[in-house]
């Protein structure tokens, strides 16, 4: 859920399910009962995800006619089953959005109003 005020200030909040596939950062070996060792390819795990996040930003298209917005958002990912528990993973997003259609639609509205 994202709200953009007429001033350009953005606030957002999100909740959502997801899926994560991890890939282990190194060769993974398995040893059978006879002591025979094999390498497991693409070793990793599948996790269910629930993500909760929120953040703020600024939309330059509202006041400054630039089709760009910047934002910072903090997300908390919960991955499970991680070992025998839940793994909470904070993720910080910093970014910008380029919205070429935004200025065109604003100009069109202004033209109509005039």
């Amino acid at each position: 859920m994202r709200r953009t005020k007429s001033s350009g200030f953005i606030s957002e909040f999100s909740v959502g399910p997801g899926y994560s596939r991890t890939f282990l950062g190194g060769t993974t070996y398995k040893v059978d009962d006879n002591g025979i060792i094999s390498v497991i390819s693409n070793a990793g795990y599948n996790y269910a995800l629930i993500t909760v996040g929120g953040g703020f930003g600024y939309d330059f298209s509202m006041k400054r006619q630039l089709p760009v917005s910047i934002f910072g958002k903090m997300n908390l990912l919960s991955m499970f089953p991680y070992n025998s528990t839940i793994y909470f993973r904070p993720v910080l997003e910093l970014g910008f959005r380029y919205m070429p259609g935004r200025i065109k639609s604003n100009v069109t509205k202004e033209s109509i109003l005039k």
Binding site: L24, N42, A43, G44, P81, N83, T85, I86, Y87, F88
Partner: protein
């Protein structure tokens, strides 16, 4: 386009898992050992040309081998030997899925055996391998060296403030807290800190349940801070010091630690003891102990030392340490380990 993107992703991640086995004086490589629902991270750092490896069995349960990879060890042991930092199941950076049912001592001993087998597979079956067990790691190690003929997979065992008998551990912790606490009070040192500890020990005299055992351990953890001659270890600062450079997976480590502190596994541990089978141990053994270790008191180390059948054995006490000699008396620790390994590899 989408298929190409997916294929590229798979290729990229597969590259991360390419087998890399290096023989040099300055190795740093990571691999995983998968067993019974857990993928345990193993990091090898140091001198693999030496053909001599020291495998650390960390404490906890639920701590991490990351904490043992200190700058001092890197500078004073890794130049000579290869240090092996193994994260046990449900600990540190080890991953897995719904593996709580496999959390028991027998499984951990099997895990250790397989880690050793993989080490020998990678670096050569004729390697000189030493186990170093600290605290809870001493319990896994005691179980391992008294199981079947597993002790002959290694050249020697280094027991650093390790517990091989949890019920005896509790009894000795209580005794030490009482004895040292009463002396400290008589000397008017930290009286207000010692009084509740002494009071608790006077009330709870034996046959400790799990809550009492945990309380004794909590008191033991703080008690060494009331001994003025012991170096205070600020674990939070330690973590902050190395977390970024060594890329600690902090939230994963914390999740695992919190889980293990409350798990039913602790009920099994509370009654675990290997004193009665230590006579099976015949390999060379070095026992290193902190004089002011309340968590695993010196008398516990003496019990271990006296029961093993090894003819080549040595016990040395650090007068400056509590439970964490690796941090509190690092020069002593590295010197003793170095001398033992050099003599027996």
């Amino acid at each position: 386009m989408r298929k190409l993107f997916l294929f590229s992703l798979i290729l990229l991640f597969s590259g991360c898992q390419k087998e890399k086995i290096t023989f040099s004086r300055n190795v740093s490589e990571v691999f995983y050992v998968e067993n019974a629902g857990a993928s345990m991270r193993v990091m090898v750092q140091g001198n693999t040309v030496s053909n001599t490896y020291i495998l650390i069995i960390h404490g906890g349960p639920g701590a991490s081998a990351f904490f043992y990879n200190t700058k001092y060890i890197s500078q004073n042991l890794e130049d000579k030997y290869a240090m092996v930092y193994w994260d046990q199941r449900d600990a540190g950076a080890s991953q897995g899925s719904g593996n709580g049912g496999n959390l028991n001592l027998d499984q951990m001993v099997e895990d250790l055996k397989k880690v050793i087998q993989v080490l020998k597979f990678r670096y050569g079956k004729n390697m000189s391998l030493f186990l170093l067990g600290h605290s809870f790691g001493g319990l896994i190690a005691a179980d391992f060296v008294t199981s079947s003929d597993y002790q002959y997979m290694i050249k020697g065992f280094i027991n650093v403030d390790g517990s091989h008998n949890y019920p005896l551990n509790d009894t000795l912790t209580r005794q030490m807290l009482l004895t040292v606490g009463q002396y400290q009070v008589s000397q008017k040192r930290h009286v207000d800190k010692w009084k509740p500890i002494i009071s608790y020990c006077n009330i709870h005299t034996g046959n400790f349940n799990i809550e009492e055992s945990q309380q004794l351990e909590d008191y033991a953890s703080v008690a060494e801070n009331y001994i003025d001659s012991i170096k205070y270890v600020n674990y939070f600062s330690q973590v902050l010091k190395y977390a970024v450079t060594d890329k600690y997976p902090l939230t994963a480590m914390l999740s695992n630690l919190i889980y293990l502190e409350d798990s039913n596994f602790n009920k099994e541990l509370a009654i675990s003891q290997f004193s009665s089978s230590l006579n099976k141990v015949t390999i060379p053994v070095l026992v290193l102990w902190g004089k002011y270790d309340f968590i695993c008191p010196q008398a516990l180390g003496e019990d271990f030392f006296n029961r093993i059948s090894s003819t080549d054995k040595k016990m040395v006490i650090s007068p400056r340490s509590g439970h964490n000699m690796i941090l509190q008396d690092k020069k002593f620790f590295c010197a003793e380990v170095d001398a033992f390994v050099l003599n027996h590899r």
